[in-house]
């Protein structure tokens, strides 16, 4: 059985983080003092839960029956033909409950919140997927739920806002800064500092202060564990290469973690290249960032020379963020994970291709990895295997894609 369990297994990949939450030089707990005690408590409860068979049994039952795990591994025959190179497999996280990999972590953290006796959960959201997942899990367990979302993102992802409302969550618009993901994180942190005694902050990606990168990685690593069994069953061997998009980096580290100690498997993370690598035009932290502390963690940060955080841009709200999870920075330095980026234009083209040849509409975030595969697969021999993580589905993005393609709803009506 593919399962989440405590990090007691052997393997170099379990050697980080250290007791201070560092992944090499990256990570740590750079937060106001008011939160420190809650974070220590969260780490303690998390470790206890991971060693508690009853907790794990409840979590796995819910992953299976409530969320729909395991997600399929699909051989994309027509995409493979289209590219004319490596065999392309898609890990179908887009088929999960609420539409993306996010529910796997949100559910786990809501269970931990219950275990800690918290009555209220809060979360930040960019694309809305993590907000929807947290709202769903909170509804399932009867916890109060407040989601912080930048006003710009609320406009881009109005359907997800309404979905959160249907689940009983209050979505609070954030008007500070650029009104996107990082501003939503600031507001969520302010709420948490104020209400830390009864509230748990369900961080949605493998970033922020320790222990969040560890907690999120542990929950999401089920993706890679499922994949190992599935690919061995279908192909009798491990893949040659794997690709996933990287915003904060939760789907990516969850997909890769199982394979970090398998040197034959090449691992590639794909960041948001936006309109190209110029200040304020992208969110490719490894292409334009430098070392800094942002929202609780030491990692690569898009910032100016004076230490002010730069504006970012991506067609996908979920990748539109100025920093990246510390574990990614660590594996980038080690050369174990390679990082590239895809631009907005490449992403829109790739989305059209996957829709046409496979009938699959991926989230714009996940499409960054598809865009990479379209370039990479033709360079690989036909007996090679490339697995792409389709971390979420694209229903939420239809409006954005229409805008990007210059299609107006009234045009469609005329055609009909």
């Amino acid at each position: 059985m593919n399962s989440v369990s405590s990090d007691t297994s052997c393997g170099a990949r379990f050697s980080v983080p250290d007791s201070l939450g560092f992944y090499g030089p990256y990570g740590g707990m750079f937060v106001p003092e008011t939160l420190m005690t809650a974070l220590f408590e969260f780490e303690r409860v998390f470790k206890e839960a991971m060693a508690d068979p009853a907790f794990l049994a409840e979590y796995h039952d819910l992953l299976k029956d409530y969320c729909g795990r395991p997600t399929p591994l699909y051989f994309a025959e027509h995409l493979t033909e289209h590219c004319g190179g490596a065999k392309i497999y898609l890990k179908r996280e887009d088929l999960l409950h609420t539409g993306a990999h996010k529910i796997t972590n949100a559910l786990g953290q809501v269970l931990l919140a219950k275990r800690m006796g918290k009555t209220r959960v809060i979360a930040e959201t960019g694309a809305g997927q993590h907000g929807v997942a947290t709202a769903a899990a909170a509804a399932r367990f009867g916890l109060k739920c407040v989601i912080y979302m930048g006003r710009v993102d609320m406009r881009r992802q109005a359907l997800n806002v309404f979905r959160m409302n249907l689940f009983g969550a209050e979505v609070r618009p954030v008007d500070s800064g650029q009104q996107t993901l990082k501003d939503a994180v600031n507001e969520a942190m302010r709420d948490w500092v104020t209400n830390v005694r009864d509230t748990h902050y369900v961080v949605g990606s493998a970033l922020g202060t320790h222990p969040f990168p560890l907690v999120v990685r542990t929950f999401q690593s089920v993706i890679g564990k499922e994949l190992r069994g599935q690919i061995l069953e279908k192909e009798g061997r491990l893949p040659d290469e794997m690709a996933a998009c990287v915003g904060g980096g939760s789907n990516c580290i969850g997909f890769f973690h199982e394979f970090l100690d398998e040197p034959s498997v090449r691992l590639v993370g794909v960041e948001a290249g936006g309109r190209g690598i110029a200040e304020g035009q992208h969110a490719a932290r490894f292409a334009g960032g430098r070392l800094g502390v942002f929202q609780g963690t030491l990692s690569y940060v898009l910032q100016n020379a004076d230490g002010q955080i730069n504006l970012t841009h991506s067609v996908s709200a979920g990748l539109d963020y100025a920093s990246v999870g510390p574990e990614h920075a660590y594996y980038r330095d080690k050369g174990r994970i390679e990082y590239g980026y895809a631009t907005d234009d490449e992403v829109i083209e790739a989305l059209k291709v996957l829709c046409r040849v496979e009938g699959i509409l991926p989230a714009l975030e996940s499409t960054h990895a598809i865009a990479y595969a379209l370039k990479r697969a033709p360079q690989m021999a036909k007996d090679r295997i490339l697995v792409v993580n389709v971390s979420g589905r694209g229903d939420k993005d239809v409006h954005t894609v229409m805008e990007a393609l210059g299609v107006k709803p009234e045009d469609l009506v005329e055609k009909i």
Binding site: T194, V293, A305
Partner: protein, 268 residues
């Protein structure tokens, strides 16, 4: 010269609490901010906390966020903050000045260079909001060898054993945050301030200042009885933020507000 210790000693000898004023450096622009700092110091401020404007001040409430935004929009940089401190140091040689900042701003220079710049500007200490003592080794070493103080925060959520650790790591003074939450004006003070300050005093002889939410003369008077100093931020920043355009009017409002608050300091 240890200006921080001297200022608390002086206040204690005069049987009053120290008055600690916070302003965001460069709010709403360099010249006005310099005038505002001069006003507060002339009004009798014992210690000035200068906030480094930051794009993402996650420990601050709306008032200070907006102040940061105004400062940055006016073209404020860290170099200009150092220049502001340097100017005030010449005019007010005895009043301690500390920086209230976020760690990314320190790292932008590198910790050693940042500490050098602080010393060169005549700054006495640094409070880094998102740098808990466990992660402050480099900062403590760099500041320590230059005689710069590292001020740490203790919160209502800090348990006694951790309180002891923070009290023994920090120097200059201890900054006790009066309640969970971000900076900002509050109507009333938390009833737990007195017992918490007493608990902190079990672990240190450093002065204890109390901040967050202190906005009225009565608050200052209460804190003066319970602790060694009261920090007022948002109530002063609001004087700048709420009056647009007329600098003279703003400065006179700031002066009146500061004097009113300071009148709460003497122990009756």
């Amino acid at each position: 010269m240890d200006r921080i210790a001297a200022c608390f000693d002086k206040a204690k000898a005069a049987r009053r609490g120290a008055f600690i004023a916070y302003l965001c450096a460069g709010d709403p622009d360099y010249d006005t901010s310099l005038a505002a700092c001069r006003t507060l110091l002339a009004a009798g401020t014992d210690l000035l906390e200068l906030g480094m404007p930051f794009s993402d001040p996650l420990a601050d409430g709306l008032t200070n966020q907006l102040a940061s935004e105004r400062a940055l929009a006016s073209g404020m940089t860290q170099e200009k903050v150092f220049a502001l401190a340097r100017t005030l140091r010449k005019e007010f040689p005895d009043t301690p000045i500390i920086f209230y900042t976020y760690y990314n701003l320190v790292l932008a220079h590198g910790v050693e260079t940042f500490a050098d710049k602080c010393v060169e500007a005549g700054v006495d200490g640094v409070l880094t909001l998102d740098l808990p003592p466990e992660y402050a080794g480099e900062m403590l070493a760099s500041c320590g060898k230059r005689g710069l103080k590292n001020i740490f925060i203790i919160a209502p959520t800090t348990p006694p054993e951790r309180m002891e650790k923070i009290a023994k790591t920090g120097n200059g003074f201890i900054y006790y945050v009066s309640r969970e939450g971000v900076t900002g004006v509050r109507e009333s003070l938390s009833p737990t301030i007195g017992p918490m300050v007493e608990e902190i005093r079990r672990y240190t002889t450093l002065p204890v200042a109390v901040g967050f939410g202190i906005s009225k003369k009565e608050h200052v008077a209460t804190i003066a009885r319970l602790a060694d100093g009261a920090v007022v931020g948002s109530a002063l920043v609001n004087c700048i933020g709420n009056i647009h355009g007329d600098r003279t009017q703003m400065l006179s409002k700031l002066d009146a507000t500061a004097r009113e608050l300071i009148s709460g300091c003497p122990l009756a």
